[in-house]
Symmetry: none
Subunit: 469 residues, 2 copies
């Protein structure tokens, strides 16, 4: 273990009685602590998502996040919280207060506590100067302020922003500091996770921590929970015996998807992989074709990969979603390989003029109807010369519903080489939810058309009200 004890001045020793330094308990995983800093958090202006994300990462490293803490941008409070965290955790992760403004004083607090001077990191400064020079923009003192670090601290590169992170050790605790911007923190933490392992700071028991995420669409969270209950206990005993700790199952809603993650904490990677494979078979048996994928890739990525592999193209015709389906599809880098474009047919006149929906259909069935979305899907497929045409028309709310067509009613259609299929869904949520679930339902319809294996029903069939897409 690499522990540089820099804290030598007696006045800087944490202001706590000796018994508060916890001795490591062999029966518990090593403790970690997360400290988030910022007045905006103290006033509740933003929800802190860094803590949950960091807690996941640290848990996977075999650490236990025993305390979470937070302070405002107040020098003495930050120092006190840092000292306390260092007394009770082996790994301390600090986020926030490394920005360009006068409020951001986390560097000053760290320097006060460790008695180090504040310096500008030369590597980051050189990069910043060349970046600004390229754009012909002058550098302000504020820009440079963001590059402050304590002298002698181990500097952590920020690949996606300006402020570098850094590491300092306080007594037996390794303290890592990150900017509070979530995407910067996440990009930087990856290298730190490796460092935590290298330094032997991670939980020693679990030699291997592997997780696998199963992505589920079309079943509600409580139904997924119900169908998977007891699954881990039913795994073969010899397989469980080869794990360092009991595997755990976690649910996360990424509306409208449900993400099911299994974490294996094993003695070796073979045991971990066998456990995950075994769980995977069981998850698919219990949930059937509602499982559309494994891993980090969401539905737009998964569908896009299948289209690209087949050399097929997609066009969209959107009414109630107003472009959201296209936006989701094109959020994927490289989507131009399979996405041609589409028509946002919000007004009925646009449905007629650009998609060829007939006046008769609109008059007899209305825009929110199966005949209308069929014509929209076929129209956009034909006019853009795509292999697949997907269409949506619905009532996103909050007004515009009727007895026959309540708010949340959406008609979907998919036109393809072998004909057109249509679906109707009613989702009792707000405008944002209806639009999002509708756009993903259209993609789900396409993914099912591209994936014969998704025809499998869940074990015992779906219960009434269970399937929703």
């Amino acid at each position: 273990m690499l522990h540089t004890v820099r804290l030598t001045a007696p006045s800087l020793r944490p202001n706590l009685p000796a018994q508060m330094y916890k001795s490591p308990d062999e029966n518990r995983p090593p403790a970690a602590e997360i400290l988030t800093i910022g007045d905006e958090l103290g006033r509740g202006e933003i929800v802190d998502t860094n803590t949950a994300w960091l807690a996941q990462q640290l848990t996977e490293l075999g650490l236990q996040v025993r305390y979470r803490s937070g302070t405002n941008d107040q020098l003495e409070d930050i120092c006190e919280a840092l000292q306390r965290a260092a007394c009770r955790a082996r790994v301390v992760v600090v986020s926030g207060g490394l920005g360009p403004t006068e409020d951001d004083i986390t560097v000053e607090a760290a320097c006060a506590l460790w008695r180090l001077p504040v310096v500008i990191d030369p590597a980051h400064e050189a990069r910043l100067r060349s970046r600004f020079a390229e754009r012909g923009v002058p550098l302000t003192p504020n820009n440079l302020r963001q590059l402050r670090v304590p002298q002698g601290a181990e500097v952590i590169e920020n690949p996606v922003g300006l402020a570098p992170g850094f590491r300092l050790d306080l007594g037996p605790a390794a303290c890592w500091f990150f900017p509070g911007v979530p995407r910067e923190l996440r990009a930087m933490f990856t290298s730190v996770a490796a460092r935590i392992r290298e330094h032997g700071l991670a939980g020693a028991e679990a030699a291997v921590v592997l997780r696998r995420t199963f992505r589920v669409i079309g079943l509600g969270e409580s139904h997924v929970d119900h169908r998977l209950r007891g699954m881990l206990d039913g795994l073969p005993a010899d397989l469980l015996a080869r794990q360092a700790q009991r595997p755990t199952l976690h649910f996360r809603l990424s509306f409208p998807e449900v993400l099911v993650t299994v974490v294996a904490r094993s003695r070796d990677s073979v045991a971990a992989r066998e456990l995950l494979d075994s769980v995977g078979i069981e998850v698919r048996r219990r949930l059937g074709g509602a499982v559309y994928s494994e891993g980090e890739d969401d539905l737009p990525v998964v569908v896009g990969r299948k289209l690209a592999a087949r050399g097929e193209t997609l066009a969209v015709a959107e009414s109630c979603t107003g472009g959201l389906l296209g936006a989701l599809v094109t959020a994927v880098p490289g989507s131009s390989a399979y996405f041609l474009g589409g028509v946002i047919a919000y007004a009925d006149a646009v449905k007629q003029a650009l998609l060829g929906v007939s006046a008769d259909t609109l008059a007899r069935h209305g825009a929110v109807s199966e005949p209308c979305v069929r014509q929209m899907a076929e129209g956009v497929r034909h006019r853009l010369g795509a292999v697949w045409g997907a269409a949506l028309s619905g009532i996103a709310g909050p007004t515009g519903g009727s007895v026959d067509k309540p708010v949340g009613t959406v008609h979907l259609a998919l036109a393809g080489p072998t004909g057109t299929v249509a679906r109707r869904m009613i989702w009792p949520g707000d405008r944002d939810q209806v639009r999002r679930i509708a756009a993903l339902a259209a993609l789900n319809l396409l993914d099912r058309a591209l994936s014969p294996e998704r025809a499998a029903p869940p074990e015992g069939g779906a219960a009434p009200g269970e399937e929703r897409l």
Copy 2:
């Protein structure tokens, strides 16, 4: 003030040196602390939204949330965190661990710390029994478990769930305990807020807390910060003298917008409003037309309201944003009053076929060019019969850039009754950022066309590189 000091047994005194009991500082608002309890938070399985919500409520009560803290469902850790919170805050709000399962031990921790027996609250038990009897469902021990409270604690009704909350005082601190379910906590906190005021625990000085948010687009956060520096100190002295506390200025990034919020804590509502009006004039003088609105409404809402008031319509032609502009516009309820639809022209063939972009333009200038977006904007305006046509074409990345047209280059055009304007922007961010800033830049172009007052430059004009939309 009502302070029942129940803590008599010496062994239960917080295990801290005397100097750690902070004496109240007259220059700072009274301190509050939020403590969230739960293993699921420590493992990062859920994002804690209670802390932000509670922090807002406590801030409005004139308290300062000085520390935020959290523990797992561990008896000794909860006790330690409670003791510490009671040493440094006057109001402590605890959420979580009041549920039906064996994991939920917040009541046990409170009872251990205060040396009180655990009892079932009789009022909640009677209500629960009658509720179950009505539904003909038998009561399980788990159901009753949720009704535990420390004997003698002040019980807080839970109008929307089973578990009651309670209050206990530890030394000078009033500690309120709530279930962790956000809707239950929120429903219960209302009565507690009144209690905090009654007990004189709130920041007594601030009779009125009012806030106003100014929405800024086209200036970076550091430039906004720089331009507003010292603004509050420059306010008229007699106006400041009528405030209960110094007003505060907060920045929040809602990419690519910057939200500037001023909080007035005043003796009366007249003084608060006068302060906010005075700040508003100064903010607009310093930032000019970069301030597009005040309040909660974002750019799509603001633009939509102006279009609706004028009886004018909008159509969009999107390449790199793939539908995102349309999705933002139609996220606003009632947008069908002014939004007709548009064309997602991802492939060049769609730009030609549906928007009338000429083959010659594409061959000579490429799709990411001013001539192309001009034709797209004019084409969609003409074909959909809209008053305004907005178009975008760019390179969102991560690949596809060149020396002339680096990743992040986006051309925008707005065609309207008096002709077409075009802009070029280069944004050095990732794909999501480029697409989002481009879509909002197009709306900003429209909002400026609809808003003569936004022609005002910032005081002294914009510095080079300062304006970005």
